[in-house]
Symmetry: C2
Subunit: 344 residues, 2 copies
């Protein structure tokens, strides 16, 4: 181990690619390994879906403003989101928590209360876990198990040229919520007697602290008889996810700035922070909305839904991934997303 390459050099996705090199698959039941929102296992009649996500104190959350119950809830929901992104349904989770002695039993129970609350709401069974101590902060790793009928599964790959790109809900809100919380934290650190200014920002704070996964969208599409041709959940920002879909599908895309759904509260707070709302949506992350493609012939089925918005379409690979700005200029999409390794 003479060579030393810094983590930030590769970034998260470069690292995943590197670690995935030379992995040998031994079992026919392993349908899909690394490279989608979930691993896919052939369980006979159905596919089982497996995904894991870790939330680390002071990287993914700050206990100064994250209530423990919300944190538990969020740590479950971010995993559910990956299962829905495969068009599946979540069945079970196992929870692994590492905490230092500065946490009391009541504190761990609060985290678990949040996890149980999410399980109750999304109809998921908490079936196991591991609780251990850590010498540093709090770390929560949840692995979710889901299932999906074999003919219902949707991968990142599978889209085709001219198919429509659709997002659920709205984007950038969780990122703006984080900006508010960080601002108030700084103010508090400088002067603990100042009351936090959190009025009129309930929606974006909730999107950050207690996000929801779009189980409803997956079920809604089924009732409309629309099966996405490709899908991913938006955890790292719209730009990053679109590039994942294009790469997986060997496609390009054109999306339109003016079509990206942004809530009014996100918009006005972005302005207040001198941030471009579109940039918040493209690069903010933690939205846990779904981004998917549908056949043009399915457009009529979704066009009246207030929760779904067509933002563009797939193109051929050589055209690249582009965004058309409001002034008509065309800009290549870049994923700035999150790079946890360069943040420190």
């Amino acid at each position: 181990m003479d060579k030393r390459t810094e983590l930030e050099k590769l970034g998260e996705f470069g690292l995943i690619d590197k670690l995935a090199e030379n992995i040998k698959i031994h079992h026919a039941s392993t349908v899909k390994g690394i490279g989608d929102d979930c691993a896919v296992i052939d369980a006979g009649e159905k596919y089982m879906l497996v995904t894991t996500d870790t939330l680390v104190e002071n990287i993914h959350f700050n206990l100064m403003y994250s209530p423990l119950k919300h944190l538990g809830y969020k740590s479950a929901v971010v995993n559910f989101s990956d299962i829905y992104a495969m068009n599946g349904d979540v069945r079970q989770i196992v929870v692994s928590i590492a905490v230092s002695n500065r946490f009391s039993i009541e504190a761990i129970e609060e985290i678990y209360d949040g996890i149980k609350k999410a399980c109750e709401l999304y109809q998921v069974d908490l079936v196991g876990g591991d609780t251990t101590s850590s010498t540093g902060g709090l770390i929560i790793t949840i692995t979710a198990i889901g299932e999906v009928a074999k003919d219902e599964i949707v991968y990142r790959a599978g889209g085709a040229e001219k198919e429509l790109l659709v997002v659920s809900g709205n984007l950038g809100a969780a990122f703006m919520g984080l900006q508010i919380l960080e601002r108030e934290r700084q103010i508090y650190l400088e002067n603990p007697s100042v009351q936090p200014a959190l009025e009129g920002v309930d929606y974006i704070l909730e999107r950050q602290l207690k996000p929801e996964a779009r189980k409803d969208v997956v079920h809604f599409l089924k009732t409309l008889d629309v099966k996405p041709t490709s899908m991913i959940d938006i955890s790292d920002g719209l730009a990053s996810e679109i590039l994942h879909l294009c790469k997986a599908g060997d496609l390009g895309c054109t999306i339109y700035d003016e079509k990206i759904p942004i809530d009014q509260e996100t918009f006005s707070n972005a302005r207040e922070f001198n941030l471009d709302p579109t940039t918040c949506a493209l690069n903010g992350g933690e939205d846990y909305e779904l981004l998917f493609s549908i056949k043009q012939s399915d457009y009529d089925k979704i066009k009246d839904s207030e929760h779904l918005k067509v933002i563009g379409h797939y193109t051929d690979k050589n055209s690249g991934a582009n965004i058309v700005a409001r002034d008509g200029s065309v800009v290549a999409l870049k994923a700035q997303g999150w790079n946890h390794f360069s943040a420190e």
Copy 2:
């Protein structure tokens, strides 16, 4: 959250019991939740097994003497062990690693090399994961997925009075390996120029640094046509695991000190450390051997195996869990095991 109860008050198992309270199961496919070596999910033809384990730097390992590759190997194997303890076979794992910036890409690759090596040897598919940064040390969480034919599954519960208690391999070696490593670490900290005295202790060091899971025992029992009636893996020390089996099966037991298998290297090093070898076996932990019960009628099938040792038998619950010392005196078994929360 006004009340504050310290973690050490409950211990790991008390905490698990507390957190498992009020968990509602929504899906018929959840056959077994918290309370065995794995969760059990009905996948149609077979049962799927799910287990998760976290290794935390400076709690479960010390990088001063744990080579990263061994550490990766061990973090995979400890999960495999839980699947074998249900009489299953491991199929897939997902890996979650949190590291600080002090780790290079090459360091993470070494950990993965160890994980891949274990996967290769045990025929397991690495199908996904999450790599993120941490502000503290290194934390590895692995979730393993296994499968088992429905009529082959073995739980902790299921034993009966008079059935024989059997252990594979030998016990206490990993614990003695740890004592050696800790002693050398202390010596090194006091005087870095002293060469570590690690001669003649290869076996016990390997049991600590690069343990194996007993896939071979599970397969061997099948070839003998012996199906254990109850089983658990020995991760927290023999005493703790026996008490788990007795509690799950609503039984008592009698085991015999003189029958507990202890390797000569473990024995002589224990003596050198002024430790009772039996105590090391009972409370040491990290053996990853299997402890199981068999019907008396199966005794003849296993009695000639050098890898299996009958150490006692189940009794009725009211007799309690006891160990018969070499002098014939009877002592109630107590689990001292590991309590990570009181260690700091």
